[in-house]
Assembly symmetry: C2
Homo-oligomer: 374 residues x 2
């Protein structure tokens, strides 16, 4: 048995018959690092001693499925976020009998994993909100000009939302260039703040090739944006790490676009990897909307983002995806105060009554919090 | 009906009952761009005219499944590879009733999509091989020092392989730094070339955050490496685009690590997107090995990589994943001469007889080609 506290531990669900699972687990362990049978890898004593992990535990987990825990030396990950993904689910992603259920990293991994820059507490401080969930919405649809998006910012900010983010589909389109959008939307929340005394956080979406994302983020930072959003699976998860680890940067809200379908438990991907790689808040589809997560998945994901950790700050869960204004009290009850409720369509459907509908959302939040305290 | 030749066309398999599929297809079309119901998006005439796509075709495709073709204006992709992924399968990746079956892009997309830098013909010219598949292997296991990997290079090159690549698990480990590895392996293939008169292509693996990958690739280029390998889904698919589109760069071999499990047809992801984003060769698991692709999938993937295209060069299919030395003739027959056969374990299992076993592979290729010609 491998008993090294410095190992990383990966738990897979493996589809295999009881008599076959031990050999399958061993093959999986080797596939993820040395990619050779044990006999061939073992010809090199240093490799055998330092690169080979071990199968620590195999437990039945339903008909034809076993829960397999594999320990790998942390050294195989080479202090790099892309290489860590490879060790966790590189080749194994191509093997449909394998599902990544969970991952645990030793503290030493956080010598090179940044974790959230601001985290839950830092984003809360930026928003100036205590004791209740933050209320957020998205600017859309794609196709609006910067001035039109700024008009929406104005409405949402004056109505009292805490965070106003770009829809993840807002890229650097010629009809709505990133720079012009950021300047117009920032000016709008500033103007509203002079009226209301509270400044909503405007969070632009950065997307594109790594060079474009760096350029957009730098522009946003200089313009005075408090945080930015990106979709780690669209731009590449290692870019999230790179941005979060850089000395100069912004808190980052992560969007789940292109992250579905992988054979990875949502709580492991969004709740752990996204947080470890540097997301300060993670958007995910709440149960019951037009996506398919169960309440159990949502709870596990939110719990993972907020779990105490010796090296990584807590991150905000941000449930979204079809939440109705009328569900606010129910969601405060489900997630507690440490979340960001992201509500889009249920506001936009009000059309010309957008301000009134947004006020209703804000008031429902006040009442829900007052009742929760009582 | 949308009849615009400048639209991008995405075909999805959608799990929906016949009476529900039209509404589901319309919702999917909107989800991927404006992310609002048609009524809300349609409030803005310019958005309705220029951002909304249309459902072009719905065909039954088995019990409870329909083949849905959606046309989206190319403008929604903003000339950007990350945004294109978002339009194809951003939010829809989180909806398990949707599978991306195929995608067609108008020629105008290749104003900003680079396609392969060297392509099949260019890599062939670099290898100096005509009329037959290239023979390739991988350097492993992780844990070997640069001098040990160089020793393997020497053996493989003298035995007559055309291409010798790093295993995708070879990162920038302290015990085998990228720079030292590249220098040692290049020196080894050079020394062998002075003996044999033929220079094998040494292809190092670049991996890590975008900044690290850029640094590694630049070092490799200056050192005289002919091509490099990367795993687009580990490092982020838009980084492949960035590297392929840069004026100074190298031909790129793409590895499929972390690319499995997505609800995307392999021929669309590996055969089209990888090629369009700039891969000169694409490694994928051949049918019947320790992965799970069918012969039909392998053939569709290889055909897509080699299909004539008005703007993008052909790319090399590189089947791998458990191919045996004894299968060479069978694979030449299956893929024809325009492929790279990547064989690892079946060589390494020879242990001390590695040179002889590699010679056997080379000779089997000669015989297979001679017989195919006869």
């Amino acid at each position: 048995m491998h008993q090294d506290a410095a190992s990383l531990r990966v738990t897979y669900l493996v589809h295999a018959a009881p008599e076959a699972v031990a050999a399958r687990a061993e093959a999986l362990m080797l596939e993820q690092t040395v990619e050779l049978p044990r006999a061939a890898a073992g010809r090199h004593p240093w490799v055998a001693a330092h690169m080979l992990g071990c199968v620590e535990e195999i437990q039945p987990a339903g008909a034809g499925v076993h829960r397999v825990t594999i320990a790998q030396p942390l050294a195989v990950a080479a202090g790099d976020p892309a290489q860590l993904l490879s060790v966790l689910l590189g080749n194994a992603s191509l093997q449909p009998d394998v599902f990544l259920a969970d991952v645990e990293l030793p503290e030493a991994a956080f010598d090179w994993l940044p974790g959230p820059r601001a985290g839950l507490a830092g984003l809360r401080a930026l928003a100036g909100v205590t004791g209740r969930p933050l209320l957020a919405t998205a600017l859309k649809p794609m196709g609006l000009r910067p001035a039109q998006l700024a008009g929406l910012c104005d409405t949402f900010a004056r109505a009292g939302l805490d965070l106003i983010k770009d829809d993840h589909g807002l890229a650097d389109h010629p009809f709505c260039p990133f720079e012009a959008r950021v300047e117009a939307c920032l000016a709008a929340v500033d103007a509203a703040a002079r009226e209301t005394g509270r400044r909503a956080l405007y969070v632009p979406n950065v997307t594109g090739t790594p060079e474009r994302v760096h350029r957009q983020l730098e522009f946003a930072r200089r313009a005075g944006v408090p945080a930015a959003m990106l979709s780690p699976m669209l731009v590449g998860l290692p870019l999230l790490h790179e941005l979060a680890a850089s000395a100069e940067g912004l808190p980052l809200v992560a969007h789940p676009a292109f992250a579905g379908g992988l054979r990875v438990a949502e709580a492991a991907l969004f709740g752990k990897l996204f947080r470890w790689y540097g997301a300060d808040a993670v958007i995910f589809p709440h149960a019951g909307g037009r996506f398919s997560y169960s309440e159990e998945t949502c709870r596990a994901l939110a719990d993972a983002l907020r779990a105490p950790h010796p090296r990584a700050r807590q991150a905000f869960p941000a449930p979204a995806g079809g939440i109705r204004v009328e569900q606010v009290a129910e969601l405060v009850d489900f997630y507690g105060p440490d979340c960001i409720l992201l509500i889009g369509g249920s506001l936009y459907e009000a059309g010309d009554a957008l301000f009134a509908r947004t006020r209703e959302l804000v008031e429902r939040m006040s009442r829900a919090v007052a009742e929760a305290v009582r």
